[in-house]
Amino acid sequence: MSKGEIIAGFLAPHPPHLVFGENPAQNEPRSQGGWEQLRWAYERARANLDAMKPDVLLVHSPHWITQQGHHFLGVERLSGKSVDPIFPNIFRYKFELDVDVELAEACCDAAAEMGLTSKMMRNPNFRVDYGTITTLHMIRPQWDIPIVGISANNSPYFLSTEEGLEEMDTLGKATRKAIEATGRRAVLLASNTLCHYHFSKEPIPPEDMSQEHPENFAGYLWDMRMIELLRAGKIQEVFQLLPQFIDEAFAEVKSGAFTWMFAAMNYPELAGELHGYGTVIGTGNAVMEWNLIKAGLAQAA
């Protein structure tokens, strides 16, 4: 078996509004569109992902929250209807997905070997969270690539931000080790919003884009500053600023996916490709790509 590798990482936020705006057959509610800037951003990301021909997509979602360790979906095929408990009016999605259980187990084992509490989720009746589903739907609506779903352990909230993100760093390194050992060509998806200040009331209809704008100007400025650094490939500087960004912009990257992804990719000082930025109920969302094949850090298929 050849050595596996990570071929790309995407910052791939999960507002369910994007699925709602797209009106796929799997989602019950219908919309008149909305959030096009972000949806078109995902279209560009999809095309690039398609060209990479990955074996597996790994997604770390802040809406599968676990207290005792880092959990991994561990059932070969999961299906059901996932209704968003926060936005049930816009996200009621019938999902069917295939899990790369062998890789998930390898990730789980590697995490344990590196000192983390880790656990496989083996219950076939488990409802996959809307964060995982939204990110996966938006990046690969065909659902034809197996996935590994990873929970967000709440350590950044229970411990300090720094201690929690240190765990996510370890989780990322364990993920890389498992990908290499299992010979997979893997794409990582960090399912995170940036500035997370949001409105407390929903427009009627929800897709009324005349109501959509950044909720918080300071948070918006923070998003632009971080995106500029990411576009310039100043990853070290990004991670130096990350705790301050999290505090001042209430950034959802606190939940760990962003750190997990960069740790797994070994924090490459590589310019990210911005596919698009937009707000959803006031929060800041960027779709960005770090293509390790183009950068010569991974092999083409």
Partner: protein, 271 residues
Amino acid sequence: MSVVSAFLIPGSPLPYVQRDNPPWGAMAEAMEKAGRALAASQPDVIAIYSTQWIAVLDQLWQVRPNPSGLHVDENWHEYGELPFNMRTDTELAAAAIAATDSYGIRSKGVDYDSFPVDTGTIVASNFLDPEHKFKSVVTANNLYHDWAITENLGRVVREQAEQLGRKVAIVGVGGLSGSFFRQVIDIATDHIANVTEDDWNKRILAMMEQGDLAALAKACPDYAMQARVEMGFKHFAFILGGVGGNFVDATVHHYGPLYGTGGAVVEFRLA
């Protein structure tokens, strides 16, 4: 009198899904005892506020007539499923939704197939009303609502129950101290993870037993912070609002650990 009983119970699924573990079995027995007390109070409806039903936009209320299904807890999936089968008092829920406006709270009903009813609500419903004899009114924990707003939610339920002539049991579902074991433990040895938090829990429970409302009002903000109480102890605020800010004393049917956190089953004697 519209409110006929009131209870504080933990929302952890562990006593329900693993009651043969002694520390959790004692909690399960206490929950059943509370269920018998609730039935004896002969309510028409159980009003449930669960910390685990998280909302961020508006105040959500369950209005589906018969929420039912199978739930798997996000964290404790290895212990199996939580079946649920509830009957909503849709008239009271609608009245509560309409009435929250006057308290400056924007509310919304939730009526969706497969809506993920939270673990705490299911545990409460299954333990307190195992035969599904009573209707329920269930509302969410909006993360941005503070103690006073949450107290008003309880107040709204009481006032609307009064208007409609309903007898209601008020139930706040949530934990006490919040420090938990982050690693896998031998569950038979489960205990409160933090000694200071354990002391805090006992002091607060003693105040409840004594009906010392003034002391509770003074202590709760510090308790919530220092003992890392689940969601700022807002489930108690809901109870206080529901009982009109007053109770005579309370019986603590059990206090114990739930993977390091504190949980208690408390029955309040009403004035």
